[in-house]
């Protein structure tokens, strides 16, 4: 029998075509696995009562209302200070890559972004969306209304990867656009020179934004599963290279690990949350990262 946790698996989510359902399933699966309300302990104020549903913490049950009505109601709280979240999506051609012909890096990122959007809207946090390739392409101003969820998902569902990317420049533009301190959640494969990108991240941090960097790579980019003679082509600049894959695997894995280590180290210094992901990983890792960040802000 299917359980909610199943929806944390990318191969299962891939079978659900509607993005809103995807987001819903991911979040429900995630919350079910937590065994506790993610909102407990946040600095919030009472806003209204609602009916008790399984999954709510029993200690939130309002026993006075129960005494009066003989029904379970829980106190609903409202964040004292809302977090404005921005989902920043890389639309480069390389984000459309998939080796197993399942979820592309962009699909994975969109599913994740949708889930986060779903989560945030339910938290009453305003969420906005930015997409970029060589510059900012789409922009959706942050709102906390429930209708915002539909807007964001609608935009996400129509995103297509295209052309080359300039992550550093785009992030610099983002930094310039955002006036208030926000939570910037970046989804990118970071396939560019790391120094300018890191500088742009420093700039975002300098402006007071909290940054979560979701570094999404394809499973093949992390494991290099090729064998024999292969000719590899970069989809963005069409450069080609002929090589013996089996002989090169060790070298490649060393390189990619060094690349990730660089980002991990630099982000740690800049207090940027760096989340290395690949398209075979479950979504809960990303969601946990968001919640930890949210807690810190709260």
């Amino acid at each position: 029998m299917a359980t909610a946790e199943q929806y944390l698996k990318p191969e299962v989510i891939n079978q659900i075509k509607r993005l809103d359902l995807r987001a819903q399933f991911i979040v429900k699966g995630f919350l079910h696995g937590l065994h506790a309300s993610p909102f407990h302990g946040f600095s919030v104020e009472f806003s209204e009562h609602r009916k008790y549903t399984p999954g709510d913490d029993p200690k939130d049950i309002d026993w006075l209302v129960y005494a009066k009505t003989d029904k379970y109601y829980v106190k609903k709280f409202e964040a004292e200070t809302n977090i404005t979240g921005y989902l920043v999506m890389d639309l480069s051609r390389s984000m459309g890559y998939t080796y197993r012909q399942e979820l592309t890096k962009l699909d994975y990122s969109i599913s994740l972004a949708a889930a986060l959007c779903y989560l945030m809207i339910h938290q009453q946090d305003p969420v906005g969306l930015l997409t970029f390739d060589q510059q900012i392409r789409n922009s959706l101003a942050p709102k906390a209304r429930r209708s915002q969820l539909g807007n964001v998902l609608s935009l996400l569902a129509n995103l297509q990867p295209q052309g080359e990317t300039d992550i550093a420049n785009s992030l610099t533009q983002v930094a310039a656009m955002l006036r208030h301190a926000s939570l910037v959640m970046i989804f990118s494969d970071l396939l560019a020179e790391p120094e300018p990108v890191l500088e742009a991240l420093y700039r975002l941090r300098h402006r007071g934004h909290d940054v979560i960097l979701f570094h999404v790579l394809d499973e093949a980019e992390v494991r290099f599963p090729f064998d024999g003679m292969v000719e590899l082509e970069d989809p963005e600049n069409q450069q080609r290279l002929c090589l013996d894959a089996a002989a090169f695997r060790r070298d490649y894995l060393d390189e990619i690990e060094a690349f990730r280590t660089t980002y991990r180290r630099e982000c740690s210094q800049a207090r940027v949350d760096y989340v290395p992901l690949d398209t075979s990983m479950q979504f809960d890792r990303a969601l946990t990262e968001y919640l930890v960040s949210r807690t810190a802000r709260g």
Binding site: L191, E221, D234
Partner: protein
């Protein structure tokens, strides 16, 4: 190296094929989209070099596989020796048969020689027509090519073992000399041997190898007709207590009963021949032997009358090799040797130790003393005629008159023995250094040496001298240290011809010998006449003095010449009998074992009888003058190496041939195979095909790893 299909070697040109394919048909790699190419580009140069190396490795493997295949199909072969010409070309062949007595060893109802004969006849039929064939055995003498194949066949059929067989390398040397003279291009030597160790001695290897160097292009085939695990009982060489004995002493016969094979029991008997030549059993002993074990056998025979006595020791029962089951012996028994002992006064006291050692009172009473000792004072020496004595002993002599020295020197030169034991009476020393005294003595006296601490004693280096022969069995177990020498005479450097028989532990001479004419003189530099309670020069005769007894016995036997007459020989040796000048005759009858007598002339000037026809083991008898005349005898035995069945080790056989090639075969199939390899050469086809398969496997492995999809 030769090729059966030389033209197929042209197939090696096909190695061009993989090279062309490599150049024009490179495999297309699988094209894939991969965004993270930037991480690969960093190390692409190293990768490209690795790729190139793999390509070259693959190319080489493929080219090697094709070249090896072409080479294998051309059927190359290599020759182990210099065999030349086609397989049907006439050959100069020498067939060498080992005819040592051990070739009589029977296995599966065939003697080794019979097996060799069968194989030899078969081999003879295999040789190409017009071949020159020589058949040699291990007798002494040069070999020749047989007139025709029929003569060779007849020669093989008439082969017999000989009692004295020369080593196989020597016969092989002769065979190589013979085939080396042939004008035929192909030369082959076949050696039929049981590969016994005794047939391949290391000392005859050098001549063989230099011959092989002279005639290098000869195929040598050793055909093994031996039995790998023989079962046999054998008697070793007989050791007699003496070949010339006193009629008062008994004969001791020792030997080893050896056994190869599983455990078993055997009885050993000793027979003596009577006057008519009939054998009479005198003793027998039974032994139980485990596998590959040997046991000491010892017989004592007493009551032998004066004259020549012959006999044999044999193992009862049959085994594979009969000729080593019987060993023969001859001894001559003479009256007890008369020995004159001259000692200082009172002679009964001063000569007591020597007298008791040579002729103990108990032995004298029983009439068993080996020596008939007469004791006189030194002063009586000049008056006593010496002719009737075989030896004279001077105990601690005082300075003698020149006439006495001369008398003793003449006595020794006449074929007798003189022993001088120097002691405290040898003063002044100059009187012993006069020329007339030095005609007898072995060296000049220098001074008396003293060793009061008792740390000097007799210390024989080895026991090879006949005087010390009885000590050989004991070797290091003789307690010479228990008999210290406190004083002795230092001798000037021994002159030429003088030998030190026994030194002291400080390396100075203790007992010296000097040949004088037909006889000999011994000089001991410390006396054996001192009583232990009167400041003795040594303690040699004191306590458990058995070494002293054995030593003086050895000295006397040496002086009376008991070991001079050799009566026991190996087959092939020349026997020499010394004749009594009183009874010497010009013609004698020699009776070889199992044969009628034939006349033999004596060397009357030297009073010797020389017999060279000793090629048969057994007891030989020499007679002249009927029943009252001369009756002498001697025995001939097979040399131990002639009946040694232990096989030569492979590495020892390799040493015999050194760097030169040879083949060993046992069966006809092996011989045929060796022929084929020797004449045509060893085919390399299978080896090359195997190598091709290995290279193809390597190519497959590398390619699979390389182009894995």
């Amino acid at each position: 190296m030769t090729f059966v299909n030389l033209s197929l070697l042209g197939g090696t040109a096909l190695i061009a094929l993989p090279i062309v394919l490599h150049l024009i048909m490179r495999q297309k790699p699988k094209r894939l989209e991969f965004p993270a190419l930037r991480f690969i580009q960093k190390r692409s140069d190293v990768n490209r070099r690795r790729l190139l190396l793999r390509h070259i490795l693959l190319l080489l493997l493929r080219a090697a596989a094709i070249a090896l295949l072409a080479c294998a199909l051309a059927r190359p072969s290599i020759h182990f020796s210099g065999a030349l010409g086609s397989q049907e070309a006439p050959v100069a062949a020498a067939l060498v048969f080992d005819t040592a007595p051990r070739m009589e060893y029977r296995h599966e109802n065939l003697s080794r020689l019979q097996s060799a004969r069968e194989l030899g006849l078969w081999l003879l039929a295999q040789l190409p027509s017009q071949s020159q064939i020589a058949v040699l055995d291990t007798r002494l003498g040069p070999g020749t090519f047989q007139v025709d194949r029929g003569a060779a066949k007849q020669r093989i059929e008439r082969l017999q073992t000989v009692a004295h067989s020369q080593p196989l390398p020597r016969a092989l040397d002769e065979a190589l000399r013979l085939v080396g003279q042939s004008e035929l291009e192909r030369k082959e030597v076949y050696v039929f041997s049981d590969l016994a160790r005794g047939a391949w001695p290391a000392d005859s290897v050098e001549a063989l190898q230099s011959r092989l160097k002279e005639v290098p292009h000869v195929g040598i085939y050793v055909i093994d007709v031996g039995v790998k695990q023989p079962v046999n009982y054998s008697l070793g060489e007989l050791r007699l207590s003496g070949q010339v004995l006193s009629n008062r002493s008994s004969l001791r016969v020792e030997t080893e009963l050896s056994h190869t094979g599983p455990a078993g029991d055997r009885t050993v008997e000793l027979y003596l021949l009577d006057n008519k030549g009939n054998d009479r059993k005198r003793s027998e002993q039974s032994y139980a032997l485990d596998g590959d074990q040997s046991q000491q056998v010892e017989f004592h025979v007493g009551s032998l009358g004066i004259g020549t006595h012959q006999g044999f020791v044999r193992i009862v029962g049959q085994d594979g090799l009969a000729c080593d089951d019987t060993r023969y012996f001859s001894v001559e028994v003479k009256p007890a040797w008369k020995v004159l002992v001259a000692a200082p006064d009172p002679p009964e006291q001063t000569a007591l130790f020597l007298f008791q050692a040579l002729a103990p009172t108990e032995y004298q009473r029983r009439g068993e003393a080996r020596f008939d000792c007469h004791l006189i004072g030194l002063s009586e020496l000049s008056r006593r005629p010496l002719d009737e004595y075989a030896a004279v002993c001077l105990l601690d002599p005082t300075p003698l008159e020149p006439a006495e020295w001369k008398k003793l020197a003449d006595f020794a030169a006449d074929g007798h023995g003189v022993a001088v034991f120097l002691g405290r009476n040898a003063r002044p020393a100059e009187s012993f250094n006069t020329p007339v005294a030095q005609d007898l003595l072995a060296g000049k006296l220098l001074r008396q040496a003293r060793a009061p601490d008792g740390d000097v004693f007799l210390a024989p280096g080895d026991y090879q001298h006949p005087i010390l022969s009885e000590f050989r069995r004991l070797a290091g177990a003789v307690p010479w240290q228990a008999f210290p020498v406190f004083r002795y005479w230092e001798i000037d450097a021994p002159r030429s011809g003088v030998g030190v028989v026994v030194p002291y532990s400080d390396r100075r001479p203790a007992l010296l010998e000097r040949p004088l004419g037909k006889g000999r003189a011994l000089m001991m530099t410390t006396p054996v006449s001192d009583r232990p309670d009167r400041d003795p020069w040594n303690l040699l005769p004191v306590g458990q003095a058995w070494p002293f007894g054995i030593l003086v016995h050895g000295m006397m036997l040496y002086l009376v010449g008991s070991g001079d007459q050799q009566l026991n020989y190996y087959a092939g040796q020349t026997a020499v009998l010394q004749l009594d000048p009183q009874q010497s005759r010009s013609t004698y009858q020699l009776f070889a074992p199992g044969e009628d007598g034939f006349p033999l002339s004596a060397d009357l000037t030297r009073h010797l009888l020389v017999i060279s026809a000793t090629d048969q083991a057994g007891n030989y008898r020499v007679q002249a003058g009927g029943t009252t005349g001369v009756d002498r005898g001697f025995s001939v035995n097979l040399a131990p190496e002639q009946t040694e069945l232990r096989r030569v080790a492979e590495e020892d056989l390799d040493k015999v041939f050194g760097p030169y090639d040879y083949r060993v075969a046992r069966t006809r199939q092996q011989i045929e195979r060796d022929f084929s390899e020797g004449r045509v050469g060893r085919e390399l086809f299978s080896l090359l095909i195997l190598m091709t398969a290995l290279i193809l496997a390597a190519e497959h492995f590398v390619a699979n790893r390389f182009y894995r999809q």
